[in-house]
Each structure stands twice: as structure tokens, then as C-alpha cells.
Amino acid sequence: MANVAHEYTVVALVQDRPGVLNRVSSMFRRRGYNIVSLAVGHSEKVGLSRMTFVVDCDDATIDQVRKQLDKLIEVIEVTDMTELASVTRELALIKVASSPETRSEIIQLVDIFRANIVDVTADSVIIEVTGDENKVDSLLTLLEDFGIVEIMRTGRIAIPRGMATP
């Protein structure tokens, strides 16, 4: 198991200061850790932000990722969410080519996935979908035939269930 690569989800609570994202990303770059996705936003505490990392690595490496992150002065807390009971989500905006003939079929798919159409033009629609990566990937696969013009994905965010908030 030790050397099997795996996607880990790590959440860091950080001080909201200029350069903190640079410090964090620089540490990943310098030590050769592979970030699959990174999402940053304000936390419930003033002056603190949360970063969610998805890292593709093995057990020994994720241990190092956690410790090296924790070593950064502006990083307050690091939680490995991989094994925790948690809710994970990703938001994607997908621009798909559409015509009067295909539009209704696209709307049907969007309904099935409980996604939303947030913009329509004569030749395209923008779909907003929220879910785990599998759901987003599945919708993308189905939309491919219509012609995907552009995709924006936020990367994964994660929060633990219950009161044990990291």
C-alpha cells in the first residue's frame, strides 16, 4: 500500500496575508508534489482562509505534504480529509454549443444531473453543475457530442461532517 499513488484531499487553514498562496504553491513546486486541484476562499474566521488541495501521491508523500505545509509559519492547521467522513464538492461551468435542434436534449441532460442552465445564446448554453468530480466528469462525457466550447472547474472543496470541524 505504501507506494500506491492515490488522490488525497488536504485542507489547510491559513492566515489571509499577501504572499501566502505563493509560499504554499512554492513549497509544492520545490518538493515536487503534484497538485491535482487547489481551491482557496475565506473561512468563517476573519483574516483566515481555507485551501483545499487534491494531491496525487503515495502514503509516505502525503505525510510529508502535511508536515511541510504545517511548517509554513502562516499555515495554522492542516487536515487530511481523505479518510474523514466529509462532504466534497466541485463547481463547473460548461459552455456547450447548441442549436434549436439540440437545445431540448441538452436541457433534459441538465435536469437529470440536477444542474442549471445559467446562460443561453443563439448558438451556445452555459451549464452550472455542482457535485463530486465523478458527477461532473459524467456530465462532461455526455455533453461531448454536442461540442464543448469551454470548461471552468473550481477544483474540489471539502468539509468534514458533524461538529468536528477542522
Binding site: P18, G19, A60, Q64, K67, Q68, K71, I76
Partner: protein, 564 residues
């Protein structure tokens, strides 16, 4: 009290007990230099190159255990500090560097002498600051010193724009720091120490691997108590040298690439390795897959990220080493490993490293042995990087903690000149010998002017082989003796050079003159440069080639000449 930013810097430094600063001015630093005459308590030592300032502060810090301070101007001044910062980062040396930055309106405009200094130094500092208001200077300096000296020590840089030095603000020096993400002073977990003690108590062939952490946490007496109680041999890494008296019966010396063979074999055969403030560096371990395969590793370190970084450990004890070892001592059994001690004696007999052969040639090993003998192991020995460094580690005997000051992790050639200067400024009571190679010496010899100007009494021993000796050795062993770009054919006359700086120079070409020259240097007031014209193609043995293991250890060819 309303003060200018420049005054706030100086007041803050006084609050931190700073007495000496190594620096060099420039445009962005002029307002700070303008306030310096108001602070005669601060001794500013004007260097000739900013790398010298950073490395002198490093030597200063290592010689005292206090934070070393250097400063430089924006742009090239700051970038010249980078090697010294990287060196301090690798070797966990507490430094605070202050740099001038271009004025706030000019930041980001590619102004004259503008460099993104916090960006450049981010990976080579423990932390850094860009201070945008005079009111924030004292807090940043307070935090910088706190971060530099606590936990795993390291360099911290504070970058201050020129117009912040002239801005006026209320000066208040904070009593405490507010760093919610930084919790350095934690006591090690007793449960882990108990596990460590259990493993040690059932060991048949234990060794202690003592690193720089022992010196940094001032845990030498605890190390000795532990080793003596449990009768565990002590192996010291390059930076761990001097943490344990080498005259002690349990002292085993340095292992690894150029370590003594018996220490490398003992590490290999051990069933338990107790690492105290060492980090299983590649120069110690060689090929990790074949390193000490039958051993359990117990790892004490203040830095949690060191546990499991290169080798997997049975138990890690994170926290202050001195506290950890104090707690461990009562838990370990009175030791008794007669078979293991006998086995090590046998290894010493079978693999007799460090013999100096009898020859009329001037051997560097002999010179180092003599310096060590004449100074009675009481001097601070500072080295650069390369063959001379390894010979110093091997042939000088160290008894007192902190008496070897050397660039370990980064391997900074030229370290020997400014670091010795810094060590002597910090410890004027100590004899300081700088052991130099002719290559490294020429990288930083501009500081001879600083040494002359401030009458800093450093004795230099240049082991001059007109080669980049260690690189030449690798070329001999691994590149068919193709000595590309390692032969120095245009070296200056170092005796004349000494004279040019108003220092005393002595040339030694004959082994018979070694002792006399060392004594003459010691008896001459002020800095002296002894230029030892040593055997050119001498090699450092033993050697385990990079990335190899104990099975590839090359011992000194014994057939060449008679051992002494």
C-alpha cells in the same frame, strides 16, 4: 515615542540584544545608515561583499548560539545574501537579514536596483517579511528574531522600502508575538519516548547518531549521560561533530561518504539507530535501500517533517531534543553490550581509517593533526567545503560543543573566510583557525580587507594544492582522471597577498616546517595566512561513492607507504 523607521530598526535590534551587524550600504539603505551614528552600542562591520555579511553572521551565530545579523541594500545587495541564507537554512542556523527595498511607489516598476527579494528568498528562508509601514517594523523584527531562534532555527529576512525608513511612527516594542500557525516550543510526547526506550532496552547492537540538533539544543551533557548509562557508541554526523568529546571511549567519529570506516560499518550492522537531531542526509546514508537494513530507527527531531522524510522510522519523537533526552535517560536500562563493543573494536582493527603515512611529502592530514594538537582542541575550527573540510573533520579532535563550524548541507565553498571572521567577532576569547582550500579561499578573500580593517585575529591555513581538490578526486576516480577545469594554474602568491592587506603571510613547503609555522601564526598578533603547499593529488579516504552503500566503501590503499 515617535521615531523614524530607521530609528525603529535600530531600537528593535537593541531590544533583541544585538551588538554586532555585518553589512554594506547602498542607496535603499542610506536612511538606515544615516541613523546608525545615533546607536554607538551597535558595532557595524563593513564587509566587502554581501555574501561575506551573511556568512559572517552565520559563523557568528554558530559560535555563540545567538542570532546572527546582517544587512544589505536592495537588488544586488540583497541577492548577494542569498547563498548565505541558503547555507543557514540548510544547516538550521539562526539569522536575521534586513534588506533595503526601493521606495514604495517604485515597487513593481522595475526600478533601479529593484528585486523581488521576498520572492527570491522565499525558499531559502524560514520566513520573510516585506514591511510596508514604519509602524509594522518593530512587530516584524520581533517575530523575525523569535522565528529565527526557536524551533528548528533558520534565517529570516525583513525587507524594508527606503521610504519606510524615513516614515515616522510611534515606537512600541511588542512583548509577545502573535503567530497562531507557529508553535515551536513543544515538549515531546512521553508515550513516544517510552516506545523509544523499549526499543533501546531490547537492542543488542545500538548506536547513537548525533547531529547538529545536539549542539543547537545544547544537549551535549544529556547525550553523554545517555551514552554512558546505556553504553551506546556515539557516531557524529559532520555537523554533529563536537557534540560529543572525541576522546571519549564511546566516541566513534563520523560515518558516511568520507567517514571513518568503522563508524560506517557500525551503522550498517546496528540493530537500533537512535538519531538525535540528525536528518539522515544522503552523505550519511548513501543508497537508502541498502542503508542499515537490519536496524530499527528512532528519530528525535524538533522538526516533525524530518521524521520519515528519507528513512522510515519505528518511532519519531518530535520536540526539543534536550527535554526529550532528559526524559529518555531514566527510562533506559544500564547498558551492557559487551559483544557489540567488542565487535566495534574488531571493526576498528580491521578497517583502520585515518592513518597518516610516513613520507617526506607535505600531507594536508598531517597539518590538520598538528593544528589540532597545538591548539589542544580548544580552538574554533572553521572550514570551507571539499577535501580540506573532510580532512579537518577526520584529523582534528573536537572536545567542546560548537568548536567545528562548517558548511554542511549546502556545501558552500568560500564559507571559511567570512564564517571565521564572524566566529572571531563573536568569540574574541577563542583562537579561531580557518581551514581553507585554495579554491574556496579565492571565492571570498575580499573579506581579508574587512579582517585587516577591524583587526580580526583569524589564523588561516590554506591547504594549497592548486586544484579544486575534491572535484579533481572525483575526476580521478569516476572520470578517467580527466582533470577538466579543476587545475588552478594562475593562483596568486598568497604570502604577497597577505602582505598587500597588511597581514602576515607564511609559506610552508616542507613537513618539517609545519609545527613552527603554526606556532609562529599563533604567536603573531592579528590575522595570519599560512600557505601550505600540500601534495597536489592527495585523496580523501575512506570514500563511499555518491549513491552507493557500505559495500562500495573504498579504504585507503595500504600498500603505498608505511603507516606512522
Amino acid at each position: 515615542m515617535k521615531l523614524t523607521g530607521g530609528q525603529i530598526v535600530c531600537e528593535s535590534l537593541l531590544q533583541e540584544g544585538v551588538t554586532d551587524i555585518f553589512g554594506l550600504p547602498g542607496g535603499a539603505m542610506l536612511p538606515l545608515y544615516g541613523t546608525l551614528p545615533q546607536y554607538p552600542q551597535i558595532n557595524h562591520i563593513l564587509v566587502r561583499h554581501e555574501q561575506g555579511a551573511a556568512i559572517a553572521a552565520d559563523g557568528y551565530a554558530r559560535a555563540t548560539g545567538n542570532v546572527g545579523v546582517c544587512w544589505a541594500t536592495s537588488g544586488p545587495g540583497a541577492t548577494n545574501l542569498v547563498t548565505g541564507l541558503a547555507n543557514a537554512m540548510m544547516d538550521s542556523v539562526p539569522l536575521v537579514a534586513i534588506t533595503g527595498q526601493v521606495g514604495r511607489p517604485a515597487i513593481g516598476k522595475d526600478a533601479f536596483q529593484e528585486t523581488d527579494v521576498t520572492g527570491v528568498t522565499l525558499p531559502v528562508t524560514k520566513h520573510n517579511y516585506l514591511v510596508m509601514h514604519a509602524s509594522e517594523i518593530s512587530g516584524a523584527i520581533k517575530e523575525a528574531f523569535y522565528i529565527a531562534r526557536t524551533g528548528r532555527p533558520g534565517p529570516v529576512l525583513v525587507d524594508i522600502p527606503k521610504d519606510v525608513f524615513t516614515e515616522v511612527a510611534e515606537f512600541v516594542y511588542p512583548d509577545s508575538v502573535d503567530l497562531p500557525g507557529y508553535r515551536p516550543a513543544f515538549e515531546p510526547d512521553v508515550k513516544n519516548i517510552e516506545t523509544a526506550a523499549e526499543i533501546l532496552n531490547s537492542a543488542k547492537r545500538p548506536v547513537i547518531l548525533a547531529g547538529h540538533g545536539v549542539i543547537l539544543s545544547k544537549a551535549s551533557s544529556e547525550l553523554r549521560e545517555l551514552a554512558e548509562k546505556a553504553q551506546i557508541p556515539v557516531i557524529t554526523t559532520l555537523l554533529g561533530i563536537s557534540s560529543f568529546p572525541e576522546s571519549h571511549i564511546l566516541s566513534m567519529g563520523m560515518p558516511g561518504m568520507h567517514g571513518v570506516a568503522w563508524a560506517s560499518y557500525a551503522l550498517h550492522e546496528a540493530d537500533v539507530i537512535l538519531s538525535l537531531g540528525a536528518r539522515f542526509d544522503d552523505r550519511v546514508t548513501g543508497d537508502l535501500r541498502r542503508f542499515a537494513p537490519d536496524s530499527k530507527k528512532i528519530h528525535f527531531d524538533i522538526d516533525a517533517a524530518e521524521i520519515g522524510k528519507t528513512v522510515s522510522t519505528s518511532v519519531g519523537v518530535v520536540g526539543d531534543l534536550k527535554l526529550g533526552v532528559q526524559k529518555l535517560i531514566p527510562m533506559v536500562n544500564q547498558g551492557n553490550h559487551p559483544e557489540w563493543i567488542r565487535r566495534i573494536e574488531q571493526l576498528r582493527d580491521e578497517h583502520p581509517s585515518l592513518q597518516i603515512r610516513k613520507t617526506s611529502k607535505l600531507l594536508p592530514q598531517y597539518i590538520l593533526k598538528k593544528i589540532s594538537e597545538i591548539t589542544e582542541s580548544k580552538a574554533i575550527i572553521v572550514t570551507g567545503v571539499g577535501q580540506h573540510q573532510m580532512w579537518a573533520a577526520q584529523h582534528c579532535a573536537f572536545e567542546e560543543p560548537g568548536t567545528l563550524i562548517t558548511s554542511g548541507g549546502l556545501g558552500t565553498m568560500g564559507f571559511e573566510v567570512p564564517a571565521a571572521m564572524g566566529a572571531k567577532v563573536a568569540r574574541p576569547d577563542k583562537v579561531v583557525w580557518s581551514i581553507a582550500g585554495d579554491g574556496g579561499f579565492q571565492m571570498t578573500l575580499s573579506e581579508l580587507a574587512t579582517i585587516a580593517e577591524n583587526n580580526i585575529d583569524v589564523k588561516f591555513a590554506i591547504l594549497n594544492n592548486n586544484f579544486l581538490g575534491m572535484v579533481r578526486q572525483w575526476q580521478e576516480f569516476f572520470y578517467e582522471s580527466e582533470y577538466t577545469a579543476t587545475h588552478y594554474t594562475g593562483n596568486p602568491d598568497f604570502v604577497k597577498l597577505a602582505d598587500a592587506y597588511g597581514l602576515v603571510g607564511i609559506r610552508v613547503e616542507d613537513a618539517a616546517d609545519v609545527e613552527g609555522a603554526i606556532r609562529q601564526a599563533m604567536n603573531t598578533p592579528g590575522a595570519v595566512i599560512v600557505d601550505f603547499m600540500v601534495e597536489q593529488e592527495e585523496n580523501v579516504f575512506p570514500m563511499i561513492p555518491a549513491g552507493e552503500s557500505i559495500y562500495e566503501l573504498m579504504e585507503e590503499p595500504s600498500e603505498i607507504e608505511e603507516p606512522v
